[in-house]
Symmetry: C2
Subunit: 134 residues, 2 copies
């Protein structure tokens, strides 16, 4: 409640338990690594769209609202490179292409859940504020 100005030893837990400069740098690096592969507006939405099963290109474009073919194509390539998704081509006429999440993509679950939970409560908080301020 009160603004504590002086040297308050932090109520240490979680990320705050790191202490050395080296660990700090390593943490920052790891966080940046993770954010790097998830960067951009679209990767997580695409992963979420794929989370219910394999999808074709056109389906994905309709599912992820607002994305253009060019961007979807680029993002899918990056997801493939990072081994979050696989691309399967079927020799039908015309060709059918399916994208599916890999087992490795499951390792992102805790990140996605953390982001989703936080996003939900943050949105509620913002809406609550604007109401009470207004």
């Amino acid at each position: 409640m009160s603004t504590v100005l002086e040297a308050t030893p932090p109520p240490v837990n979680g990320i705050h338990s790191i202490h050395s400069a080296a660990e700090c740098t390593q943490s920052a690096q790891a966080v940046q690594d993770a954010l790097y592969v998830l960067s951009g507006k679209w990767k997580l939405p695409i992963i979420v769209a794929l989370s219910t099963g394999p999808r074709r290109f056109g389906e994905l474009q309709r599912l992820v609202s607002g994305i253009t073919a060019k961007v979807l194509s680029k993002e899918l390539k990056e997801l493939e490179m990072n081994e979050f998704a696989v691309r399967r081509v079927y020799a039908t006429m015309p060709v059918t292409v399916e994208y599916e999440l890999t087992a490795y993509s499951q390792s992102l679950n805790s990140i996605i859940e953390a982001l989703r939970d936080w996003g939900i409560q943050h949105r509620a908080r913002i809406l609550g504020k604007s109401k009470s301020v207004d």
Copy 2:
């Protein structure tokens, strides 16, 4: 047709347990909300740098290696706006300015930890691959 598209019973758990299109959209939105406030190269590294206690502008710039004053200034304003940090000005001569994390910033802990843990294992995985491929 060799393509088996329908009735994929998802190997449900975690994020994969969502099922309706609406929930899917809401999840995607929440994830995007969260990523939005954490966007860019610098916000998390700055938060990590502040996690050990209040820092002055110059200290921060040295701590977050590679950041310019302009970008640091901009990022700090955004962190303030999102109520992740507070800016305190002391009427010393010349003025001293300190930045400190808020209690609300603690709510990001699970995200940061998830990103950090994932980043660490991902880096290890990449390095392992390049070694065995090399």
